[in-house]
């Protein structure tokens, strides 16, 4: 084994001596790469799930760190009518008919049931810019009504035990299953990710088996454990000793550009209008300018969402009932009494959902934590509050730090992806609130002039404009020396 490595180490030099075409330099063959394992968690402590990562035949993968993130299914059923009854219009449901837990933690219109609550449909662009939608006046059967809204579980830290086995060597990377908090750190994606004490190489076609033992009850969703590092491209037919020698060369980090005088820091930005619909797929391409190559060194991201305030639309109430040829119900009429907003008081439980903006119902709303003690009576019922107070009592669930999505980045110039599968943002990029340091690529990624970075996003939670910034530098003039492929 040792001899092979030594022989392999000499080989690149011998090619040069013989006058053969130069072998690509490590800077051109090394690309940052992430291998992710996915685990479907059921929320049952003790449940064991496992996944296998298969290293591609393209080259050797060197893992330098581990990150993880949990794409939690936060939605829970929200039954509104417990007994069978006549069909009802969803917009006329009052807050008093919702369980207190839903008002405290938050609830929203089930994305699959939007056609029962609203009229018409919106394009993704319109949905991202929060265009208000017309409420539907169609009656909905009770069975469907119980599926029209869903309670949103707050984001909570997750706990599990995990173990990693290199299937190629049969070697375990820990003596017993380790706790995620002890070994990987917080589950909110706070950076820097846990770095391995020594980079770990995986040869082409090898496999890594990961096993997870659940510990958090009621945590349902997909757990991503990501090995991030770099791949040394060698070709599937490359002999193993050569591959090993290339990995050793690549381990000595090379600067893609030598002349710093023509290098300027630069950020390329990809933008996505997130609609808030889970499963919606978006794509953006960032073209690299012709004036020089670009080297990406780290990635940052953030969601620009609009205000969390919920402005109640009192003016919508009377026309709603007039359109239906009915008079405003008595309890609701109290809310519309003339007078200053801070003096007109009515029971909060009589407030119908139709006074809430449609965008807020889609985003999800809850009573602000600071107002919960005011909104509820000691017995759990809703209190009587003024119109002014009701207008400032609610907030949207669409917060930038809760954005959740899967991403896949590829270099269209070479046609290579940077991940083996779409990866959850927390697992691959880290916490969503912008805490530094940003996610640093294990090796800088070199893009040729005129090439493009393609980013594909699959939405899970959050609405607004998502910014994904490739931070790095640009080299003016000549193409980068290390980018020959």
């Amino acid at each position: 084994m040792i001899q092979s490595e030594q022989r392999g180490r000499r080989r690149p030099a011998s090619h040069a001596v013989r006058g053969m075409p130069p072998r690509p330099t490590p800077g051109g063959m090394v690309i940052p790469y992430e291998y992710a394992a996915k685990f479907e968690l059921t929320g049952q402590p003790g449940n064991v799930v496992q996944d296998v990562i298969s290293i591609t035949a393209d080259g050797i993968f060197v893992a330098v760190g581990v990150g993880y993130g949990f794409k939690e299914e936060r939605s829970r059923p929200l039954p509104i009518a417990t007994a069978p009854g006549a069909p009802r219009i969803p917009a006329e449901i009052t807050l008093g008919q919702l369980p207190p837990r839903a008002l405290i933690e938050g609830f929203r219109v089930n994305p699959r049931s939007e056609n029962m609550v609203f009229q018409g449909d919106l394009t993704p662009e319109q949905a991202a810019t929060r265009r208000e939608r017309e409420l539907s006046t169609q009656n909905v059967p009770v069975e469907l009504l119980n599926k029209t809204f869903e309670r949103m579980k707050p984001v909570e830290p997750i706990s599990f035990l995990f173990s990693v086995v290199d299937s190629g060597t049969g070697r375990e990377l820990q003596d017993e299953p380790v706790h995620n908090l002890a070994s990987l750190g917080k589950s909110d994606g706070e950076r820097p990710f846990r770095l391995l004490a020594q980079p770990l190489s995986f040869l082409p076609r090898s496999t890594v088996r990961m096993q997870v033992i659940e510990r958090t009850p009621d945590a349902v969703g997909t757990l991503f454990i990501v090995l991030y590092g770099y791949t040394v491209l060698a070709g599937s037919a490359c002999p193993e000793p050569v591959v090993r020698s290339l990995a050793e060369i690549a381990a000595r980090e090379a600067k893609p550009f030598g002349d710093r005088s023509r290098v300027i820091p630069f950020d390329y930005v990809a933008k996505f209008p997130l609609t808030g619909r889970p499963g919606n797929r978006l794509e953006d391409e960032v073209p690299i300018t012709v004036e020089g190559g670009f080297v990406a060194t780290s990635i940052g991201y953030g969601l620009a969402s609009e205000s969390e305030d919920v402005k109640l639309a009192w003016s919508r109430v009377r026309p709603w009932w007039q359109r239906r040829g009915l008079s405003v119900p008595g309890p609701l009429d109290q809310w519309l009494a003339p007078g200053p907003d801070d003096q007109v008081r009515a029971p909060l439980g009589d407030l119908p959902l139709l006074v809430f903006p449609s965008s807020a119902l889609i985003d999800g709303i809850r009573i602000r934590p600071g107002y919960a003690r005011i909104a509820f009576l000691s017995g759990g019922g809703l209190a009587e509050v003024s119109r002014a107070l009701a207008s400032e009592m609610f907030e949207r669930l669409n917060r930038p730090e809760d954005v959740s999505f899967l991403y896949l980045i590829s270099d269209t110039g070479t046609g290579r992806d940077w991940q083996n599968q779409p990866i959850h943002n927390i697992a691959g990029l880290g916490i969503a609130d912008g805490k530094r340091p940003f996610k640093k690529l294990a090796r800088p990624m070199v893009f040729q002039p005129r090439s493009t970075i393609r980013v594909r996003i699959e939405e899970h939670f959050g609405r607004g404009t998502l910014f994904l910034a490739f931070q790095g530098y640009k080299v003016l003039g000549a193409p980068p020396a290390g980018a020959r492929r």
Partner: protein, 333 residues
């Protein structure tokens, strides 16, 4: 080696540069408030600021940071209205007469009238009874006050006798949460202010100290004896774009969200560092455009951290080294 030759050497030059490299920060400042129109929104408006690198040396920026000085609007408050009084049923010697409406505020006024007629005036000063917002029946009740009672009400009271409950009531009124004060409850804004902090108003504090707290303050001073600040914005979001005006070069492909490009707004370090440092020549004009995307008020500071290298050729701090002279050879006769 002569001293002159040593000075020409590369080692010496390196040492000279290291010695003359001084850490330096250039800051952009943006004002996101309007003193004349406090409610003015700056969302989606582009604000630009430029700075010129000083002529004395080039500037190398190695990282960038930002922070917001929130415009904390001071809200003075103090005992000013009869609603501020902490009057409970225990304060009255007898049961207060009931009003047909059963409203809370009139009941308290009646309690107050009872106290005035029976007890000494309590902690109350400048009363503004005939307010427009006051219910008519309350105005009527208060209009029936005798001149002695009115005088007793307006008479100033020592600040030391102000109760915590009265401060909370006055604070709630100042923050627009009258309804909570009227019910003897604490509103959300009031709770936040109590948590965030209240203090003695510096404008009145001297007068308060001179009186030792035992002597009554004038009504208008008691009405502003304390102050608090409104809650700062929960979130700061803006797009930014950095340009070098000298070369016309931008440092990003399009305006970028602060969270994605600069990081969280609480100043959590390390700051965002530039992959290679940017060197700006002397007299270069750097422009920063900022487009707010969320509602916040205050002064935004965006700072380029780096260093200046003094003594470079072509700058006022540069020192020309005289070329080495050749030794003059004198021809021997």
């Amino acid at each position: 080696m002569t001293l002159g030759a040593f000075a020409q050497g590369s080692r010496f030059r390196r040492a000279l540069v290291e010695r003359r490299a001084i850490p330096f920060d250039y800051a952009f400042r943006f004002k996101f408030f309007d003193e004349k129109h406090e409610t003015r929104s700056f969302v989606d408006q582009t604000l630009s600021a430029t700075l010129t690198v000083s002529i004395e040396a080039s500037f190398t920026a190695v990282s960038i940071g930002y922070g917001l000085i929130p415009r904390l609007r001071r809200i003075p408050f103090g005992l000013a209205e009869e609603e501020d009084l902490e009057v409970t049923s225990q304060d009255t010697l007898e049961n207060p007469p009931r009003l047909p409406t059963g409203a809370e505020a009139p009941r308290r006024v009646i309690s107050l009238l009872d106290m005035l007629s029976i007890r000494a005036p309590t902690s109350v000063t400048a009363l503004t009874f005939a307010t427009v917002t006051a219910p008519t029946h309350r105005v009527g009740l208060l209009a029936n006050l005798s001149s002695e009672a009115r005088a007793a009400l307006i008479e100033n009271v020592p600040p030391r006798r102000i109760q915590l409950g009265e401060m909370i009531n006055a604070l709630g009124r100042a923050l627009g949460e009258r309804e909570f004060a009227a019910r003897g409850e604490i509103g959300a804004k009031t709770a936040f202010a109590l948590q965030y902090g209240i203090r003695a108003n510096p404008k009145v504090f001297r007068s308060f100290l001179l009186r030792g707290g035992s002597t009554p303050l004038p009504g208008e001073e008691l009405a502003e004896l304390f102050e608090t600040v409104e809650a700062p914005a929960e979130r700061i979001q803006f797009l930014y774009a950095l340009h070098d005006q000298g070369t016309g070069r931008a440092f990003q492909s399009e305006p970028l969200l602060n969270v994605a490009g600069l990081g969280i707004d609480d100043g959590d370090r390390p700051f965002r560092s530039f992959a290679p440092p940017i060197t700006f020549d002397p007299q270069t004009v750097i422009r920063l455009d900022v487009i707010p995307k969320s509602e916040f008020k205050g002064e935004l500071h965006v700072v380029l951290h780096g260093y200046k290298v003094l003594g470079e050729a072509g700058t006022p701090t540069g020192r020309k080294l005289r070329p080495r002279r050749r030794a003059r050879r004198v021809a021997r006769p």
